[in-house]
């Protein structure tokens, strides 16, 4: 890569390269967010149950 313009245009393949990386980003961020959200919910449920048992 010699310039930023070359980097962005990807030698004429930008229409394929950048969407491929965008798909990768969506899968990474999406699966990460969904996994973390699932754990937070499970911990919250467990905490609620522990409180109920204590009562």
């Amino acid at each position: 890569m010699h310039s930023f313009h070359e980097f962005l245009t990807m030698g004429g393949f930008a229409a394929y390269v950048w969407p491929a990386y965008a798909v990768g980003l969506v899968v990474f961020v999406g699966s990460g967010w969904q996994s973390r959200r699932g754990l937070s919910k499970a911990l919250a449920r467990a905490a609620r149950r522990a409180q109920e048992v204590e009562k």
Binding site: A20, V23, F28, G38, A42
Partner: protein, 243 residues
Amino acid sequence: MFTWLHKLGSPPVLYRFAERAAPWCKWTAFALLAAGLVGGLILAPPDYQQGDGFRIIYIHVPSAILSLFVFAYMAVASAVGLIWRLRMAHAVTAAAAPLGAAFTLMALVTGSLWGKPMWGTFWVWDARLTSELVLFFIYLGYMAVANAFPDQRTGDRAGAILALVGAIDVPIVHYSVHWWATLHQGATLKLSGSNMPASMLWPLLVMMVAFLLYFGWLLTIRLRTEILRRERRASWVMRLAGQ
């Protein structure tokens, strides 16, 4: 080693192991992803035939390899769960399935985005592409079957059998380019080495390790969720939640 593996069959031990492994997997994966992206998108020279379009391999090949690896891993865990009746082996399989499906979908979409400029079409019913699509449906099938029963054990057993039967597709995907005349090119990486120059190869290897560690990080999170769901009535979960 077997003693260590046996210990991991205990839910609290496996939970704590996953909790401790998570940050190591996460930060190493992020560091390697950054290095791999810089190497693959900036430092690697354009391919002499495919130009800069070849850079899609840095995301396509790791996701495709991971799609096979995760299913093989699920099949081994399912076998362990069925043979030794280790409940946590089924939890590991259940936690890995959605991640494997996501990586398979990524491999299919990025592969078709590579196929359009190189082959002139987004999709062909070629043996490699079709068997990879079948793998995606097997992942979905596993998730549907494992969650279809009100009884956890029945769901685990049905899912494990499907994972073992579905594992037949893993060698079919891998060897499809040898067994049939496919449009898809042969393996980029072989155990005997690679034809790629080092400047193109190292970012690919780095990205593969980064994807594996990212999967490992998400697996530690999903596994803890799965353990909490399955062990919700256990006293150690109550103590953990009370902290």
